[in-house]
Amino acid sequence: MKLIEVNQVGKQYGDNVVLEKLNFTVSAGEFCTMVGTSGCGKTTFLRMLLGEEQPSHGAILMDGKPLPAEPGPDRGVVFQRYSVLPHLTVLGNVMLGPELKTGGIFARAFGARRALIRREAESLLDAVGLSHALNRYPAELSGGMQQRLAIAQALIMKPRILLLDEPFGALDPGIRADMHELVLRLWRETGVTVFMVTHDLKEGFSLGTRLMVFDKIRRDAQAPNAYGATITYDLQLKHADKALQKNIASEVAQTSQLLAGAIL
């Protein structure tokens, strides 16, 4: 059975049709990258997967059952910013999830249970390369380190789905390459299903096993928000080639100009 089924999903805010007619399924273990121009609804789609927003039309199913209407531990998330809690140390951030689960009314673990959680957190932090910074606060970390921390914090819950919304958008290119390697390694090791939004078409092509392009099929210059974006390309990535990549880039650029015109 498919892990995620998206059936005729559409989303609109008032007159602004953001997404329409989304139809696809995703199997467990896929790494889906999602690209599209700014404002075409990628974040909106991730938020529907999270349960933070509900579709205006259609339904999203997980294991054949409707997705719960609020976020839960089976779906982890890393945002571009603000994913980690500023008042907890690196170790505290990663231990938080398990502590909530087993720590009773005060959500704090003590003694042997704490030691167990701590060991688990430390090994995960080791895997993301943060074992030297266990007792630092997020404000003392670089942007790349904060994102590594956010990934570890999400993965300790062993989520079935990991949602990444432009997680490396604010990072330097060099650090980005390291992060790509890290994410691919963790994805292979854990078998988690990844949905990752990116602005960078190249990143989308190189990282995923499947690339989805969000774009408007119908563009109306008079009313740019009358039609929503849908998925215009859904590629299994081994078949992708350079010419296609160029073609997609130019189509997305057209929508981008349309939306930029609408703002002006």
Binding site: L50, E52, E70, P71, G72, P73, R75, G76, V77, F79, R81, Y82, S83, V84, L85, P86, H87, L96, G97, E99, L100, K101, F106, A107, Y137, P138, A139, E140, Q153, A154, M157, P159
Partner: protein, 274 residues
């Protein structure tokens, strides 16, 4: 070099900071001397020795009638009222502020009434407090609470609303429920904000304390000032005012140092943003 780029060294900054105080003191002394030369019984600007005598009498000699040291007794009563009032306000601010900020249902229920109550001028309802709670300690503490709590509650609620929504989502993806969110995400991040709000409320708290003591009391710093006003006893009033200022200053300083000690992550974050 441009003025905007001219920065004082540390010792110079300290010295500069003292200059206005010294000027004020000198101005006072010269004016006081001038008036006393004209009329040795002048009460308006008493000389320093007169004030030292008054402090000696109030702080270090037993009162003949009660056998107490008046200044310390006044200080103890006033501080007790002030601290109880501020503690109650802080507790209310945390509790109601967190509920308002995290629960949309509670915000819909209680938001408008809190906003309305915070517009009531506290001094206007002081007579009501005296009628309802009597002239004892309770009405004075309640006045401080009414004067400081609403602003602090609204500040705390707004601080919660200003927290990135990402944190709220994040906690839910870590398996947390509403209680977990309040306890492990909202409360710890509000505590340094609460200390900051307390510092800002100190002025108002002192204002309402002294007002209440002036109107109905038998001891306290405000009571004493208003009592001796009848005799134009500036030699008592001025030292009392300075003493109150010193107390307020050190309370403010204490809260600031406490915040730096307890919440290093908060101050580092603030410096990072600045």
């Amino acid at each position: 070099m441009r003025l905007i780029n001219l920065r004082p060294s540390r010792p110079l900054a300290v010295a500069l900071g003292f200059i206005p105080f010294i000027i004020l003191l000198l101005l006072y002394i010269s004016n006081s001397n001038a008036r006393l030369a004209e009329n040795p019984n002048d009460k308006l600007l008493p000389g320093l020795t007169t004030m030292v005598d008054a402090v000696q009498r109030l702080a270090f000699t037993e009162d003949t009638r009660t056998g107490e040291y008046l200044l310390w007794m006044d200080t103890a009563s006033s501080l007790e009222r002030l601290l109880i009032g501020l503690a109650v306000s802080a507790g209310l601010a945390l509790l109601v502020g967190i509920l308002l900020g995290t629960l949309p249902m509670f915000r819909a229920l209680a938001g408008p009434v809190v906003a309305a109550i915070s517009m009531v001028p506290p001094m206007a309802i002081l007579p009501i407090l005296f009628i309802v709670f009597g002239l004892g300690e309770l009405s004075k503490v309640v006045l401080i609470v009414i004067g400081t709590a609403p602003v602090m509650i609204r500040d705390m609620a707004q601080r919660v609303l200003d927290m990135p929504r990402e944190q709220f989502i994040k906690l839910q993806t870590l398996g947390g429920n509403s209680w977990h969110l309040m306890l492990r995400v909202v409360l710890p991040q509000l505590l340094p904000r609460l200390l900051a709000a307390l510092r800002l409320s100190l002025g108002a708290a002192w204002l309402f304390l002294i007002a209440a003591e002036a109107i109905a009391s038998t001891d306290g710093l405000g009571y004493r000032i208003f009592l001796v006003r009848r005799y134009l006893a500036m030699d008592v009033i001025l030292p009392y005012v300075i003493w109150i200022t010193v107390l307020a200053y050190f309370m403010d300083l204490g809260l600031r140092l406490l915040s730096r000690r307890m919440f290093p992550w908060f101050h580092r974050q603030q410096e990072g943003e600045a």
